[in-house]
Subunit: 229 residues, 2 copies
DNA sequence: TCAAAAGTGTTTCTCGTACACCCATGT
DNA sequence: ACATGGGTGTACGAGAAACACTTTTGA
């Protein structure tokens, strides 16, 4: 193993975000339009440099902190309003034409009731919720990043409770099912999905919330996520 | 998003390896003893700096290449003799007391028939296959890295074909079962495991290889991995 | 002949899937 | 009244788990 040296050339390190939400029964990703070269005018993932710090009085930020900060800066959403998880790190030479850049990709899940609050709605030309169904070309290797993130969120869907990060605080079975359908891009049998759902009820993962919700015809019961017992 | 700048302070970036093998029905990790401070004399994961490059004629290496290079340097095994996959990236300030270091962790799977060939056998004081059963304190945040890697390999076990990366080119059902048992740290019913195994046979994932193998009593049939149809 | 591991059979239970059907409400 | 989505019932099949059993070898 090589000896430690301060003289090694060092790469730039960024954090890039794949910010998901489910709107109109559709999985969407937040993209921003680049204002500067390279890839000027292209759509890209939000992201930025990790604050590294210069000395002990300025230690810099962790990767997770950088991800949270970027999310806040890009969306205006307060901290803690989104679930964040690391996806993968990309570091191939040449992926940024300017210099060697290593990018740590995080995915963030934004609840649909918060999604309309972001700046996307005020400045739609430069920030946009984009459906996965009709993809655009993305700057750098950002399309690869998106694919990795989509694979990851699909994996997590049936193994963890992330679906609850993509519904409002109270929700109906149909709303939760639509989240699953949007992420997996396939239809679920409503009856069978309800059965899986009921198991969570008896397991104490969710509980019935007061009231009903109107979705077009017969009003549906609403539920609340409690957490994994 | 902040404008691009060459003057940002940049972190050091390393690749660290969690190298797994299964020996004596036991999941083992390759550790090296540090010869220099900090953590001098402690056990640590093998790893080193990513070659970043200085200009166009010296583009540097990708993270995967760095992982392969490190594996080769630390074990002496030829390239391509191990399965490698990225696990997670660690970047909290202070995780290395000297300067800001961001470490990309890869796991590597070494077949048990190759494991004895590594330098561990020649210089056992400084390189060692260490069982997960009686853990040692590790330098830096390497224990957290190991835990992440173990979680990942367990996840992958029933979802992918990684088990075949930890058996010789031809193997018996018992050998494959022992790999599963070592990784999951639990016993499997031999009869039931055989049934799962047989399904792979009819699915064309594996095929019968000529000959039998002696493991103490009745000789067992040997099989060969073909790949996922 | 006995221990030990290879390999088979059987039974039970759970869960996913398919699909028919009833229920409550807006139009 | 009827369309629409909420919600229930049922029947089948695949596969996990538990476990008794037979077979083939070395010692």
């Amino acid at each position: 193993m090589s000896a430690f040296s301060y003289s090694h050339p060092r790469p730039s390190v960024t954090v890039d975000l794949v910010i998901f939400t489910v709107l109109d029964t559709d999985l969407k990703i937040l993209l921003i339009r680049r204002k500067v070269p390279p890839f000027q005018g292209w759509w890209a993932l939000p992201g930025g440099f990790v604050k590294v710090g210069r000395d002990d009085s300025d230690p810099g930020e962790s990767l997770e902190d950088a991800a949270h900060r970027e999310l806040e800066e890009e969306t205006g959403l307060p901290r803690g309003s989104a679930f964040i998880e690391q996806v993968h790190t990309f570091g191939k030479p040449g992926r940024d034409p300017r210099t060697r850049v290593i990018s740590v990709v995080y995915m963030a899940l934004v609840r649909p009731d918060l999604a309309p609050l972001i700046r996307a709605s005020t400045d739609a030309a430069d920030v946009q919720w984009r459906s996965m169904k009709n993809p655009v070309a993305l700057a750098f290797d950002h399309m690869t990043m998106v694919e990795k993130a989509v694979t990851k969120i699909r994996d997590r869907l049936d193994r963890t409770s992330i679906a609850f990060e993509l519904v409002p605080p109270t929700f109906t079975t149909a709303e939760l099912r639509q989240v699953h359908e949007a992420i997996k891009a396939e239809a679920y049998d409503p009856g069978n999905f309800r059965r899986r759902f009921k198991r969570m009820l008896t397991d104490g993962v969710i509980e019935k919330a007061p009231g009903k919700r109107q979705t077009g015809s017969r009003p549906a019961s609403v539920y609340r996520f409690l957490g994994i017992g």
